[in-house]
Symmetry: C2
Subunit: 291 residues, 2 copies
């Protein structure tokens, strides 16, 4: 397949490199002009998408996606597919899909989980929205860039699944951090806390796979001075997207809203956005400072 | 062993029956006067604890525990053990342990998880605080009444572990319910939501083992019209205990506090205390009604 790849940042670069190391021809465009060696460098979006079977975008926001997609769609050939792997708001994602389809182009939203490590190792998970036939065509690319891809429903469903998952994740991580800090103050050891909770009804990915307490549970960013991993600012971005979607859909998400507020404080007021999102534990190790 | 059992309600009754069906002699006292056939009926605490090796209490609150323990300790023999299986506040639990030890009596706090079903089946989990030697003596009783017992640390540690676990549980259940309701409004199917989240970083006991969405995931109270299981009012009780402990220990638990507020509304304002705690999903299926 001939692939155009737009947006070769921390995530897009290793994804494009993995595709290029297969049997696919990959052309790349990035606003920075920096393109990895394995990818054919293009100096415009028009050249990047020209004659491509699938155009992949990996961009930081819905606004940027809409601008880039408008340019890309103009140059894409009939029945090609626009595969957006960005994490953006559900509305922007749906808009791009509608415009694509009106132009005879397939559209998939396929945000990922797994971070830069997963992008480099080719072990990402793709949560996908769009039509089954387009998903089937893109499947072999998902299999190169990742280890799992799930078609969740029509356009926007990939974004919806990701923000629902990450809203739960953000809230559960904070609750887990609060509980560790409470346990400290009650003289319950962190090791015992982990032993009990990880095998009881409080278990979760945050506790069992990504324990925020250093030295407890399997190896995680807490054991590496909270170097991400998944940064607090990216968690905040996803939580904000969940709250934007909830507002538009008239959904009540009080715990999600509280988690968003707490990560906003952590990122903006405490300037901790570059730390792993599990570093939230450090906030609670202090005395209480907000209620 | 000769066992005295005080408090033979929904939980205590099956626990005492399981002990009596073994090779132990069980004397029982309950304020209601109702004692199961397998247990020797006593008409006072003094008679119930007379010459017992271990006295087990299963009571609804710290206040009641303190009164009952004061009576019981007076009549207990030297080097016997007071084994409290109630879920109460950490402070009351520690007070009872101190008084017991001053009288030459061992003390264990051993709140359970597993509910009435676990009590009847003998599959409870005991989270235990106290001394190793006392734990060792009580171990054979834990093994009859349950399938797991963990010594978490000194007196009060069992209560601490339980409230930390259940604070995480309450918050995670609400976040999971919010996410299902948001998914509904974004037209993401519940089945797909379960498929993605239960195998991604949003997984938890609330999602994977006790899914609040009827017909999704393994069988749970949501599939039985939200008949408990674990009632919302018991979840509220445990969340209040977590907040009481947090206040005394000067711990900051904003997500735990929000979860407590939401279960308080659900139990008190919406009169839903007798429903399973996963019925919180029904609150979010409605339009939003508080922020």
């Amino acid at each position: 397949m001939k692939i155009g790849f737009i947006g070769l940042g921390n995530m897009g670069k290793p994804m494009a490199e993995n595709l290029a190391s297969g049997s696919h021809s990959v052309s790349g465009y990035d606003i920075s002009g920096e393109i990895p060696d394995a990818v054919v460098k293009c100096d415009s979006i028009a050249k990047c998408v020209n004659n491509a079977d699938i155009v992949i975008t990996m961009l930081p926001s819905g606004e940027i996606l809409k601008k880039v997609a408008a340019d890309a769609i103009k140059g894409m050939k009939d029945k090609s597919i626009l595969l957006d792997c960005s994490t953006v708001d559900v509305e922007s994602s749906r808009e791009v899909a509608i415009i694509s389809k009106n132009m005879g182009i397939g559209a998939l939203d396929a945000p990922v989980s797994g971070g830069v490590g997963g992008a480099e190792a080719g072990t990402l998970t793709f949560m996908v929205g769009g039509e089954q036939s387009d998903f089937n065509k893109a499947k072999e690319l998902f299999d190169i860039m990742g280890q799992k891809s799930v078609l969740c429903g029509p356009s926007g469903s990939g974004q919806s699944a990701k923000i629902c998952n990450n809203m739960i994740l953000g809230a559960t991580m904070i609750a887990t951090c609060e509980a560790f800090a409470l346990a400290d103050k009650l003289n319950l050891s962190r090791e015992k806390m982990y032993d009990v909770v990880s095998t009881s009804s409080g278990y979760s990915w945050s506790m069992n796979a990504y324990c925020p307490a250093p030295g407890v549970g399997p190896k995680s960013p807490s054991d590496n001075n909270y170097i991400p991993g998944f940064s607090a600012q990216l968690m905040l971005k996803d939580l904000k997207l969940s709250q934007q979607a909830a507002k538009l859909a008239d959904a009540d998400t009080p715990i999600g809203a509280k988690a968003t507020e707490l990560y906003r404080q952590f990122v903006e007021d405490e300037n901790s956005g570059n730390q792993d999102f599990s570093a939230m534990l450090k906030r609670f190790e202090k005395r209480k400072h907000s209620h």
